[in-house]
Symmetry: C2
Subunit: 486 residues, 2 copies
């Protein structure tokens, strides 16, 4: 069969003729200052460094300027100037991304939404909150809690990530098996397109089957379709007390059995896993104890809403059943909020604990049932090629999302390690492709995984994405070079 | 401000030059017969009538032929022939649609997916089912139930609607406040595009942030982007026993208070409403009794998972609270499955009950909190212009989706009534627009609401949709004229 070759589109041809991006001159600077105010066009080295990078730290930031607009109208005015002069824009939220989706390395204008951080409205009947894009995740969580409600999307960077960025990356986290991704909580959003027009998508409606749902296209588009300038976020009923259970599990296949057994009987809000090696490191480096003396290859962490004693009774009965079946060798359950928090730390502190080993990290997924075989294949190839590499596994096994972490052996230089990890990436992504998995489960593509997109998406899909981008952004000025090159 | 005028795109110009659709000749007929078999190319009057229409019955069906492919490859081969000769295709499922999304009135080829009705695979760990597009909704529900699981999307036409059609219309129904729309249960889908290529979108992954989520674009696109030829549907844990409560509520504002009170404390699986007039008609024409003697302007129907007595106790306490506040004047709760079913019939039999009045129907939504004002405005305008029209309200108030039904006065001819209702539509949609609502909450746009799309979507949104369509279907052969004209 002849492989699919996308036809060259007129729009894309035109785009190529226009670039490279025009020079950033004093006239444009003055025009931008007139929009946002002189003090909000930042061009000093420190700010360019600050606003030009995210948490990846793999690229040397080099924006032309960072702009701090204070309103939707200011964002539109900036985009119109950029469109007129074909200047590339990089939308920027809390810059906590891990795929270099909001880095500026080519003289772009960074549009930082930090000042648009107000909660603009709350509707108690609809249980929706209208947010500026710069509202910090934790700020929204707290706002909900203060009103007896709940914003359930939660992850390590909640203290600094922003709603606009969460939407643009479809942020996931630790409650996905019960509450879904950011996608599931966006009731509406406003987007400034690449021509400076404003789209008001879905307007908070729960049911709206009037044409294509463009909102879902923008969610996870990493700023390549435009700048999210407002969002209406859905809140949920506050959950009751949460109980946490940690189980010692002999192998990955048993982890699957435990998941199926529990999910068949109860509503879990989290089902995480980590390996013995991960646990050993966490206990050694944090002020934490092992959950129990028994050593097993893997550990599962389950969370569920307690409500009354019945939930706990059911969980204990399921635990007994899993013990009898040999799927579990030991376990513990939290008796207090403090204990629950400590058990969570066994999982959540892993990332911080292994930082000194400058780990190679990869955020990948398959369907849940294929995770055991997938893990085994990845381990086999890494162990056979680099037997001195230590692999740390952890992640959100309940939704098929595992985080692969390879620690740098002490004797190995950082550059050599990175180079070898480049090879590992190729092997891993080839396995991902064979398993029909995703090269980016929750971190997005950005610059970091752009070259690997083809392992998860077909040439036709990528071509359609490019055409869609041009429908929103005909000049290709919105976060160019992220996800794909036009 | 100058209104937005979409630029003429080269692709669209090219599309216009090519049309009208080429004639359907004997050579093409032979080629199609070679693909699906002679007996599966239907051209007799009865079958053309059958396959050319859906439940709307507003248009005279006039397809050139109906084709019954049996595999993905056959669908691809059909599309390639259609693309070569610029023949329009109408994908067709159970044809239970209410917006004429799958009618064929212009000599199109109907591609009926009835034969592709096998459940191809079940994964108990992932809790997913791989379905042919022709799998009937009830078939999937039963398949899930037989395995102790649950497919929660449910609506009146579950006995004949098909999964491919549900996906293409993003079917909603009566459990949306807890379980969402069809959109929320599609873990993956395969689509044959307008060039006959096969897209395999999302492949069952729960977490997949590798580029734009094209799956969500296809869901609700009413077959205009291609033909859904397979779907991986997510199943849920089976719910416990469900209890149903019917409450007599004095006015719409009180309905909102009741909703907020209950949703703050418990997880509801349905929150429906209907008016006294609707109740009176249902009781008069079906074998049903009033839920209680008290007459109120509206009735709310709540459903929740019973689990144990605590849920019922909580519901009773909330009922008492609502009584004290004057939000509720009477109520009843089911004591058995049979009683729950009878209470549900008070709501579900309304549509059938009013059929003899050849009602004008409209399926619209706003955000929940604006429903009372919205209803009052619609009633005011209809009552002032046509005081002899009876309005029956019912619907899914918990998600802002109301069904407006106007009964034909006996003395009025059908044609005059329809003409007058055409005027009503304009008034209603102008109100919908002012309320930021949707002209189609759950039924889709099809042919029926195409002329009203602009009341819910901006010119720029509609232009972007057209460009997206051309990215999937460069010749515009996929269900042309539905949702919008290119």
């Amino acid at each position: 069969m002849v492989p699919y070759a996308p036809p060259e589109s007129a729009a894309r041809e035109k785009y190529r003729r226009k670039h490279p991006v025009a020079q950033f001159d004093i006239e444009i600077l003055t025009a931008l200052q007139a929009i946002v105010g002189e003090s909000r066009v930042l061009t000093d080295a420190e700010n360019l460094q600050h606003y030009g990078q995210d948490w990846t730290r793999f690229h040397q930031p080099s924006p032309a300027a960072a702009l701090l607009p204070g309103s939707i109208e200011e964002v539109q005015a900036i985009v119109r100037i950029a469109a007129e002069h074909q200047l590339a824009l990089v939308p920027s939220g809390g810059r906590t991304g891990l795929s270099a989706g909001s880095v500026a390395i080519n003289g772009e204008l960074v549009v930082a939404l930090d000042r648009m951080n107000r909660i603009e409205g709350f509707n108690p009947i609809d249980r929706t909150v209208r947010c500026g894009p710069g509202v910090v995740t934790e700020q929204l969580q707290q706002f909900a809690e203060d009103r007896g409600l709940y914003y359930p999307v939660d992850f390590a960077s909640s203290g600094s990530s922003q709603i606009g960025g969460n939407i643009s990356t479809n942020a996931g986290g630790i409650k996905v098996i019960r509450h879904g991704m950011t996608r599931d909580w966006v009731a509406g959003l406003k987007l400034v397109t690449g021509t400076g027009e404003l789209l008001d998508l879905n307007r908070g409606l729960i049911k709206n089957n009037a044409g294509y749902d463009l909102r879902h296209l923008v969610i996870g588009a990493e700023g390549t379709l435009g700048i999210v300038v407002e969002a209406t976020m859905q809140l949920d009923r506050a959950p009751g007390d949460l109980a946490v259970m940690v189980l010692g599990v002999p192998d990955m296949r048993a982890v699957m059995h435990v998941l199926t057994a529990f999910q068949g009987e109860m509503q879990l809000s989290a089902f995480e896993f980590f390996s013995e090696l991960a646990l050993r490191k966490v206990v050694a480096h944090q002020d934490l104890q092992r959950p129990f003396a028994t050593v097993t290859e893997y550990y599962a962490l389950l969370e569920f809403e307690q409500g009354d004693e019945r939930a706990l009774e059911k969980a204990m009965a399921l635990f007994e059943h899993c013990l009898e079946q040999g799927w579990v060798e030991d376990g513990t359950v939290s008796q207090s909020v403090a204990q629950a928090e400590n058990l969570w730390r066994l999982r959540e502190d892993i990332s911080e604990t292994i930082t000194p080993w400058t780990p190679y990290k990869n955020d990948i997924s398959t369907i849940i049932s294929r995770v055991p075989d997938f893990l085994a294949e990845v381990e086999a190839v890494v162990n056979s090629k680099y037997p001195d590499f230590e692999i740390i596994w952890f992640g959100h096994i309940g939704d098929g999302n595992v985080h692969l972490n390879i620690l740098k052996p002490e004797a190995l230089g950082v550059d050599t390690f990175r180079e070898q990890c480049g090879e590992v990436s190729k092997w891993v992504f080839e396995i991902v492709q064979r398993y029909g998995g995703s090269v980016s489960a929750e971190h997005g593509v950005g610059l970091l995984k752009k070259d690997y997109l083809q392992y998860s998406r077909s040439p036709l899909e990528i071509d359609i994405m490019k055409q869609i981008k041009l429908a929103f952004d005909p000049q290709g000025i919105m976060n160019p070079g992220k996800i794909f090159d036009l």
